[in-house]
């Protein structure tokens, strides 16, 4: 079901179909269940705090359609962070625009009932019709645990269903249960509302219904011995990253060359076979070559997301936060900030949204301001292009080349700057007490190939949508700016493309910026690219593809990387000097060129002050960094 159909169906059933909400502790499998029930593909992960806002979908049941609301996980109904308070408000019917649910599916990980049953009591006290859904029943069995589900249901007085969300086991039973929502029995034997009574009550029940307790996961113990080892752990992590960055060049490059060839051939074919004229030029040069220059990076982006999604789903992310928490502690921040920053490696927008799970508003703001420095996937095309063109392919160590190492260096530079700036903000202007830090380390669980594929495809789809909207729009606009005004015909002959380009509006804008960027050797062409990249970072690549296509004359199929390095026939100088290319890379590490990020900072901080501030200071750092890099290398 696509977004439009979903919205339409939701509007149709509003007020007619019942609503059930999914409630439970963080990482209990609510979103996996939500996806299984609704057929949607909301983002899941094996760390606490993946869902920070409610998500709505529709489940088919034998009795008709039911609205399903997935709530952020919470350990308690006394919310201390924004994501938790979303869950609490909806359950209490205090959320504007969301009716109080007709029923609650209380979701709990069957292997950690000791911890979640007391919270379940808290939810049952709300008095909403409830059904208990125990997830990860397969893992419970695999670890030797056995619970008498019928008896547990009897003790609580409510219906109970055991499921394995990611394999769809038990989902049909659950649908049937949801269908007779009106018949759900009332909970009984509830304890007093205070925390101690709830835990004592839970211990009593569990003693009666547990046939055998699950062992602690052996896999988790074995992996933690290595991955959390003070020396081995960081080494394994570095080796894994190095292999990943190398593979961006070694394995993804052939696929990328193939796509680049395809784009160039299509552009040439269009030019040769369509009637000559402005529209054909726009189609071939503006759209196919411009947007195509970004699309060729799909293999790299797919690889990046496969790695990120694997890390998120296997349970390593929370461990990373655990390992670096001390460093953040010195900076006055906490491990959850690290999780948000790591999410920003995919894209700063979800990273900034993930800060909703940080209880302290100050920590949250410091993290929001730091998140744009982490190397988001939009930077990857720019990095891959410039590193692939200007850095040598020689091997440094084993299978690792300078290219792979440089790329890794750029990622580290971004991450390090993010941490440092978060620390400075927290120390400087955002002084304040830290709220308690706690973080659950989930057992390692390896995602199925299908889950990784589905999530990678989802991200590729988002990337294509971006290419079809922001990047396409910016490319068309740039094509217009690069081709107008058209100079007068001289002696009845059309002007040379070179002349058109150099007198175009785009060139004028680029030249106007020359005083600002001349210190790092950027000419007007790069300046035009920088202007375009304000819409989205990838537009730099599409702009440069357009600009250099005019000057290159006959392009070869290997893309325009070669063209960038080639010498200008008139001056004998390379089109883009190596020092300038490196300065450009450093500029992209720091600069906040992304409208969506600015918009989300505005939304999350409720003021234009913070996005304006973030844009200005990151521009200043980018400018200085680029200048120093240029001075150092030339």
């Amino acid at each position: 079901m696509n977004a439009a159909t979903l919205a339409r169906t939701l509007a149709e059933i509003k007020g007619k179909s019942p609503t059930v909400a999914l409630v439970g502790s963080p990482n209990s499998g609510k979103t996996t269940l939500f996806n299984a029930l609704t057929g949607l593909r909301a983002k899941t992960g094996n760390y606490p705090g993946v869902t920070v806002d409610r998500k709505v979908g529709i489940a088919k049941t034998p009795a008709g359609l039911v609205r399903v609301v997935d709530l952020p996980g919470t350990y308690s109904l006394h919310a201390i962070s924004q994501d938790e308070s979303v869950a609490v408000q909806i359950l209490k019917g205090e959320m504007v625009g969301e009716e109080k649910p007709d029923g609650v599916l209380v979701v709990a990980d069957a292997t950690t009932l000791d911890r979640s049953l007391p919270f379940i009591a808290e939810v049952l006290h709300l008095g909403l019709p409830s059904c208990l859904v125990l997830t990860m029943i397969d893992e419970l069995k695999a670890r030797g645990g056995d619970i008498d589900l019928a008896r547990l249901g009897g003790e609580l007085g409510i219906p109970i269903v055991g499921i394995v969300g990611n394999r769809g086991i038990g989902i049909d039973d659950l649908r049937a249960r949801i269908a007779d929502l009106a018949q759900w029995s009332e909970p009984r034997n509830l304890p007093q509302e205070d925390t101690e009574s709830r835990f004592a009550w839970a211990d009593g029940i569990l003693q009666r219904v547990t046939r055998s307790r699950p062992r602690s996961s052996r896999l988790t113990q074995a992996l933690d011995r290595i991955l959390l080892h003070p020396i081995l752990g960081p080494l394994v992590f570095l080796a894994f990253l190095a292999a990943f960055f190398q593979s961006i060049f070694s394995y993804a490059a052939p696929a990328m060359d193939f796509m680049a060839g395809l784009m160039d051939q299509s552009a040439d074919w269009l030019l040769a076979n369509l009637p000559a004229g402005m529209l054909t030029d726009l189609l071939a040069d503006g759209i196919v070559r411009g947007v195509g220059a970004v699309l060729v990076f799909i293999p790299q982006i797919a690889l990046l997301f496969a790695v990120i999604i694997f890390m998120e789903s296997c349970g390593y992310l929370a461990r990373g936060a655990f390992v670096v928490d001390r460093l953040l502690g010195w900076a006055g921040l906490e491990g959850r900030c690290f999780i948000s920053l790591l999410s920003s490696y995919a894209c700063a927008v979800p990273g900034i949204l993930a800060t909703r799970s940080i209880p302290s508003p100050r920590d949250r703001l410091a993290t929001i301001l730091a998140a744009p420095f982490t190397t988001c996937s939009a930077r990857l095309p720019v990095y891959a292009l410039l590193v692939g063109t200007f850095i040598s392919r020689e091997k440094v160590l084993g299978p690792f080349t300078w290219q792979g190492m440089t790329l890794m260096g750029l990622y580290f530079l971004g991450g390090f700057t993010a941490l440092l700036s978060a620390a400075l903000f927290k120390k400087g202007m955002l002084r304040g007490a830290t709220l308690p830090f706690y973080l659950e380390l989930p057992p390692y669980r390896f995602p199925s190939l299908k889950l990784v594929t589905v999530q990678v495809l989802r991200r590729i789809k988002l990337f294509l949508r971006r290419a079809g909207t922001v990047i396409l729009g910016a490319s068309v606009l740039l094509w217009i700016l690069l081709n107008f005004p058209q100079p007068e015909e001289v002696d009845g002959r059309a002007p040379e493309p070179q002349t058109v380009l150099e007198s175009s509006y785009a060139a004028q804008a680029g030249q106007a910026l020359e005083p600002l960027f001349a210190p790092m050797g950027f000419d007007w062409r790069i300046n035009v690219g920088l202007l375009g990249s304000l819409a989205a970072r990838e537009v730099l690549v599409s702009t440069m593809a357009q600009v250099y296509a005019y000057e290159g004359g006959e392009e070869d199929a290997e893309g325009f990387g070669k063209m960038l390095r080639a010498r200008n026939p008139e001056t004998g100088e390379p089109r883009l000097k190596r020092a300038s290319a490196m300065a450009l890379l450093v500029f992209f590490v720091f600069a906040l060129q992304c409208i969506s990020t600015l918009a989300v900072i505005r939304r999350e901080t409720n003021s234009w002050r913070w996005p304006a501030f973030a844009f200005t200071y990151s521009f200043a750092i980018a400018w200085l960094g680029a200048w120093w890099t240029y001075l150092l290398l030339s």
Binding site: S76, H78, T195, F199, P230, F322, P436, Y438, L439, E440
Partner: protein, 90 residues
């Protein structure tokens, strides 16, 4: 005279969770103090009588992972100091 605990040999003197050595077990006595932070620690399962095991420290010494109620939970030492415990045998 005071109450005589039959298992007295098994129990060390009262201390804080932050002092618990690696792989040692303890029983939670109480969470000191009030307010959001203390409430949340209780809600995470640090209730009187709950058994806790210290699993490992982070490479840089802090935070610390504890096993309680079938989950791994990490706390910073500053939070662990608020939790009064009685070490168990071994």
């Amino acid at each position: 005279m005071g109450r005589i605990n039959s298992k007295q040999e098994d129990l060390g003197p009262e201390t804080s969770l932050a002092e618990l050595p690696r792989h040692a077990r303890a029983r939670v006595l109480r969470v000191q103090g009030n307010g959001l932070a203390a409430d949340r620690l209780r809600e995470l399962g640090f209730c009187p009588g709950t058994e806790v095991r210290m699993e490992r420290r982070a490479p840089l010494g802090d935070p610390v992972v504890f096993r309680l109620r079938g989950t791994l939970l990490c706390l910073r030492r500053t939070e662990a100091r608020r939790i009064a415990i009685q070490p168990l045998d071994r």
